[in-house]
Amino acid sequence: MGRKVHPLLGISAGLVFLFLIAPLVLVLGAAFNDATYLAFPPQSLSLRWFERVLSLQNFMDAFLVSLTVAISATALALLVGIPTSYAIVKHRGSFPSWFSSVFFLPLLVPEIVFGFSLLKTVIVALELPVMTALIAGHTILVLPYAVRVLGASLSNFDFSAEEAAVSLGMHPLKTVLAVVLPNIKAGILAAFILAFITSLNDVSVSLFLTGPGVSTLQVEVLTYVEQYFDPSVAAVSVLLMAITLVVMVVLERSFGLSNVVK
């Protein structure tokens, strides 16, 4: 709008942005601080907390679990989410109006209730491995995000391009692969990032799905903070933020995130 900003609005907005950013800056400061207690500003800089984190075997194991779960769940959600979004966007008329909301049900159930229920059915009753339960739970958790972003992307796709290719003799399946998917590349990428971050950051579902040697990083960090309150958690936090940023940048470089923003 670019209207004149009232000074009172400017000041209070500044305070809100400070409120949003300052705590994360503090975490950053604590991670690089040499002291054994959490103090700000850092007295002297060091990487000792990062070294400590990298030497903690349970953190490293949990990190591998988190990564495996996030990648598998995201891939699965995209695999079932792409045909779903394609069907509900292209054939909107052939479904009842409530149909698409079924895929948003995971957002309505409190995560902790979902995690507890998965523990009872998948692990205790069906006796499936913890890893399977984790991947299954996270797939459901990220599915709504995948369907929503893919759906938004497909709504902007002109399906007459697909029809043209088919009427010119291209096989329908090949048309989807060669015409539809390349056109929603940016949407797939955005869905991947959103789903990956959601899975990586989940606590409430993973909390119930742990077993001997299997636990996600967020759950390990939570347990650690409750027992030892030292700057290594700050270092883990910084590493997690860095990983998220790296995922975004790498995907940006290979697919072009700018297409998503447009």
Binding site: M1, G2, K4, V5, H6, L9, A13, V16, F19, L20, I21, P23, L24, L26, V27, Y37, L38, A39, G81, P83, T84, A87, F95, V102, F103, L105, L108, V109, P110, I112, V113, F114, F116, S117, L118, L119, K120, V122, A136, G137, T139, I140, L143, V147, I197, L200, V203, S204, L207, F208, Q218, V221, L222, V225, E226, A234, S237, L240, M241, T244
Partner: protein
């Protein structure tokens, strides 16, 4: 026949996942809390006659309500600023607002433990300035819990309000000013009513989100400020009382549903399109 069934067929894998991994397990938890009917009823009566359980439910709703109101106020201020500042600051400010969303709830709660802890920054500051003689206990109070939750949900509030505030046309604002409305009048009579849909959408997300924010409640509220998700976890994983955990789960789902339905009703009433 192939053409008619193809759309449905494409959704079957996702539907099957939702059915077997979400509806069945959660439905089972909810149903089990009532069954068999006579015992289920007794369990609910016993649960609700325990004053502590009622306290936890009421505290959860109270904390979620305060969090929703504060997050929406903070979000409104930031969103209004973003839509009004020069275009070149827009994207950086939006990135700034969204950045905390990239980190998890544990990290964001931990940040506030550094600030509010006994030897935390705020206590250090107060001690050094001589305002207090000994550290003020700030962690594990409703203050620390609400602060952590508002911190968690303000980015969401900004995101749901920026779009709505952007949609208010400059002409409408200019018209109301030129017709003699003072800035306060423009705000309360033009901007605020037009922002209601965004406030409601954001409000639902924040309210239902704070009802279930386990990590924040655990780290910043602790046992002293136990809310439904932390109590559910205690019952399920510490005391292995799965009956009670099932009842808490059912109450959480019901409160969430009521909140969503109530907000949906509000949204329809205030929707400018239906002229309510």
């Amino acid at each position: 026949m192939n053409r008619k069934w193809l759309p449905l067929l494409l959704t079957v894998p996702a539907l099957a996942l939702i059915l077997f991994l979400l509806i069945y397990p959660v439905g089972d938890t909810l149903a089990e809390s009532f069954l068999p009917l006579d015992q289920g009823w007794q369990r609910y009566v016993a649960f609700f006659s325990e004053p502590y359980n009622r306290t936890v439910i009421l505290r959860t709703i109270k904390i979620a309500t305060i969090t929703t109101v504060l997050s929406l106020i903070f979000g409104f201020i930031a969103a209004l600023f973003i839509t009004r500042c020069p275009a070149k600051y827009r994207t950086p400010l939006l990135i700034l607002s969204v950045f905390p969303l990239l980190t998890g709830a544990v990290v964001r709660a931990f940040a506030w433990m550094i600030i509010l802890g006994r030897k935390g920054l705020l206590n250090n500051l107060l001690l050094n300035l001589g305002i207090v003689d000994q550290p003020v206990p700030m962690l594990f109070t409703s203050f620390s819990l609400v602060t952590g939750l508002v911190y968690l949900f303000t980015p969401l509030a900004i995101l749901s309000l920026v779009g709505v505030l952007d949609g208010i046309e400059k002409d409408v604002l200019d018209a109301s000013s030129s017709l003699g409305a003072n800035p306060l009048g423009v705000f309360t009579q033009v901007i605020l009513p037009l922002a209601v849909p965004g406030l409601i959408v954001g409000g639902v997300l924040i309210f239902t989100g704070s009802l279930a924010a386990f990590a924040t409640a655990r780290l910043l509220g602790g046992d002293r400020q136990a809310i439904m998700p932390t109590q559910l976890y205690e019952k399920a994983m510490v005391s292995f009382d799965w009956n009670t955990a099932g009842i808490i789960a059912t109450v959480m789902v019901l409160v969430t549903l009521v909140a969503i339905l109530a907000m949906g009703k509000l949204a329809r009433r205030f929707n400018p399109a239906t002229g309510g």
